[in-house]
């Protein structure tokens, strides 16, 4: 048998049909659904008189539109947002799929809820009408975003028409230095490869620094595989993975657990497997980073300065000029001297309990800079409850942060949590695109620790100075 990568193995285990021209029909084990990209898909099913083929493997939760203020228990004020969430309520009921409604404590960002409830398991295929589905790759599941037409296709057939991607290995050797996190790994990789560097590939992250990460850190790394252009990111399952999954509500139990474990332990890339592209980064060389521009590839160590357009080549010269203008920055300005207005801690990238612990560790006994707006939006109701139990919520509130309910919130600003024109935000989310957090808003991406440090000083800050 020829050696295979982890991606090859999962692909082969889900191949329903392969046509002569290489077009494949791939079976989908888990389909996650949210309110923004699904209404037209359910409507399509209704018009064609079709059912959901596997309602028991289809899980829905509203997250993009939901307000995060306590008054949301009284209903959603914005009429359009309310209609979308109500449409999901109705579609979940009509088609008999699993559902976590807005006021269920298990509600949260779909990519946090899936793993938390044990829906995401190694070796699975997982899709969702959301590009950050890549998150689930942390479990050694082949997980990627799809469009609404494909959402409808999966609902109706439990399959996707696919062509196979190429294999890329991203190895992070050694250990991370203090103050450096999974977020710094994933941003540094994108800074190295560019946002199109992964196009056409599935990335497997490996190496000692990846192995040393918790599941939550691994989810942060895989979450941003899409920002590097890859179809998916993967990390082979190991004892860390199994320990995280064991005992979760929808994880296998008893004899099924044993059977699952036997297969999961075969899920790794063979030693002599073929890689179409390999990137190696030394863990020790990764610094705490921030983004300076309007693309996730615009990454620099916090100790550096804003670049000049002339530092780049090709189309990036104009792109950098446009980005500096949009961001209101000048070449040569020290990154650590950039003053901010707002801090956002949350999102499917960094809205899990360990992210909140890490930020709280920096904030303990400190106050945010006067005049700053700062909010924490836990990734799920359960993360929120746990943070309250551990006393983290009190640390955030005493420091001056708003303590919100779960949702996507200011990561994409579809709900009322938005930046105003020119407002500059230190954000733990995943995209610094123009207008992403609100029209004219300026986003700097970073880790939760770095965002907490920025909240204390009121400017982009090297977290190591506060440790």
């Amino acid at each position: 048998m020829s050696p295979k990568t982890l991606y090859d193995k999962i692909w082969d285990a889900h191949l329903v049909h392969e046509a002569d021209d290489g077009t494949c029909l791939l079976y989908i084990d888990r389909h996650l659904v949210h309110e923004v990209t699904s209404p037209q898909a359910f409507e399509g099913l209704r018009m064609a008189g079709r059912k959901v083929r596997k309602p028991q493997n289809t899980i829905a939760v509203p997250d993009h539109n939901v307000p995060t203020t306590p008054d949301r228990v009284n209903g959603i004020q914005n009429p359009e947002s309310r209609i979308q969430v109500e449409a999901l309520d109705k579609n979940a009921k009509d088609f008999g799929i699993h559902y976590y409604p807005v006021n269920d404590i298990r509600q949260g960002i779909v990519h946090i809820v899936g793993p938390e409830q044990g829906w995401t398991l190694p070796g699975m295929t997982v899709v969702c009408g959301d590009s950050h589905t890549a998150t689930h790759g942390a479990f050694g599941a082949l997980a990627h975003g799809i469009g609404t037409s494909e959402v409808e296709h999966v609902l109706a057939t439990q399959t996707l028409i696919q062509t196979k991607s190429k294999n890329m290995k991203v190895e992070i050797t050694g250990q991370l230095r203090p103050g450096v996190t999974a977020k710094d790994i994933t941003l540094s990789v994108i800074g190295r490869t560019g946002t199109a560097g992964g196009t056409g590939y599935v990335i497997e992250y490996c190496g000692e620094a990846i192995r040393s990460l918790s599941m939550e850190g691994r989810m942060t790394v895989c979450n941003m595989a899409i920002e590097g252009g890859a179809r998916a990111g993967l990390i082979a399952p190991d004892e860390t993975t199994y320990a995280y999954i064991n005992g979760r509500p929808h994880a296998p139990k008893g004899a099924q657990w044993e059977a699952a474990m036997a297969w999961w332990k075969t899920l790794y890339s063979d030693d002599d497997a073929h890689w179409d592209k390999v990137i190696t980064i030394k863990g020790e060389e990764i610094a705490p980073v921030v983004t300076w521009g309007t693309s996730p590839e615009d990454v620099l160590a916090i100790t550096e300065s804003v670049p000049a357009p002339e530092d780049f080549e090709g189309g990036k010269v104009d792109a950098a000029r446009r980005a500096l203008d949009y961001m209101g920055l000048k070449p040569g300005q020290k990154l650590s001297e950039i003053e901010i207005d707002t801090v956002f801690i949350g999102s499917c990238t960094n809205g899990r309990i360990e992210d909140l612990r890490a930020a709280a560790e920096i904030l303990k006994g400190k106050k945010i800079k006067d005049g700053l707006r700062a909010m924490v939006v836990p990734g799920s109701g359960l993360v929120r409850a746990q943070a309250e139990e551990e006393g983290l919520a009190d640390i955030f509130k005493e420091a001056g942060f708003e303590w919100r309910l779960a949702g996507c919130s200011m990561c994409l600003a579809m709900n009322p949590d938005q930046l105003t024109p020119g407002e500059r935000c230190a954000a733990t989310s995943n995209r610094n695109f123009e207008g992403r957090q609100g029209r004219g808003g300026r986003t700097h991406l970073m880790s939760p620790q770095m965002a907490a440090a920025a909240a204390v000083t009121g400017r982009l800050t090297d977290v190591r100075d506060l440790m």
Binding site: Q84, S149, Q158, A196, G200, G315, A413
Partner: protein, 201 residues
């Protein structure tokens, strides 16, 4: 799905790289539960100022590009969010073909589900088409899917590659779900085998 066979129309130059789907259709327009009506908000934040007035410099606001049917763009077009609202907005505006050096994966696939042809060409060839598009509405470009060619207003013919299955579906306007359901027996078989091999799924 609407067929795509051959198209001759105005091509607009948008030489920017990394045009993301947040730019193509900002999030405030994702609250719809329909697929139609998004064309008026295509590139909203680049096309209109804070008061909703047109920004005259933006290419699609220029008189010669108001009837644009082909967009010539920079590298990594359609990156970011998976929102199919991006191709819906492009199609609703009247654009049926986007040509760029490269596309983001999800956006590229979404186009084919909506009767839009995305064409990836080497940078040098995109540069030729970009120059041609800069001539304005007199420079009409022809895209022929059957023969896999793009013809500039000067008659220069550029060949392009496309996945044969995707080409077939686009030429015939085929519905993917209908095609897949023809393989229902294979899906049934897979599920039966999977039930014994991976009963925990």
């Amino acid at each position: 799905m609407e067929k795509f066979e051959k198209l001759t129309g105005v091509a607009a130059p948008l030489p920017q790289i990394n045009v993301d789907t947040d730019m193509i259709i900002p999030k405030q327009f994702l609250k719809t539960i329909n697929r139609t009506g998004l064309g008026k908000n295509l590139f909203d934040e680049m096309r209109f100022d804070d008061n909703g007035n047109e920004i005259p410099d933006f290419v699609l606001n220029k008189p010669q590009y108001r009837e644009t049917e082909i967009l010539i763009a920079g590298d990594n077009f359609g990156c970011g969010s998976s929102r199919e609202h991006a191709p819906w907005a492009i199609k609703d505006f009247g654009i049926r073909c986007v040509i760029a050096p490269s596309f983001a994966d999800i956006f590229y696939n979404n186009c084919f589900k909506n009767g839009i042809l995305p064409i990836a060409l080497p940078q040098e060839q995109v540069d030729i088409l970009m120059k041609d598009a800069e001539k304005g509405s007199n420079a009409r470009v022809t895209v022929d899917l059957e023969n896999q060619t793009v013809t500039t207003s000067d008659g220069e013919v550029i060949a392009f590659e496309v996945d044969q299955f995707k080409k077939h579906c686009l030429l015939e306007g085929l519905d993917d779900i209908g095609l897949t359901l023809e393989k229902a027996a294979a899906i049934d078989n897979f599920e039966a085998q999977s039930q014994s091999a991976r009963p925990w799924v």
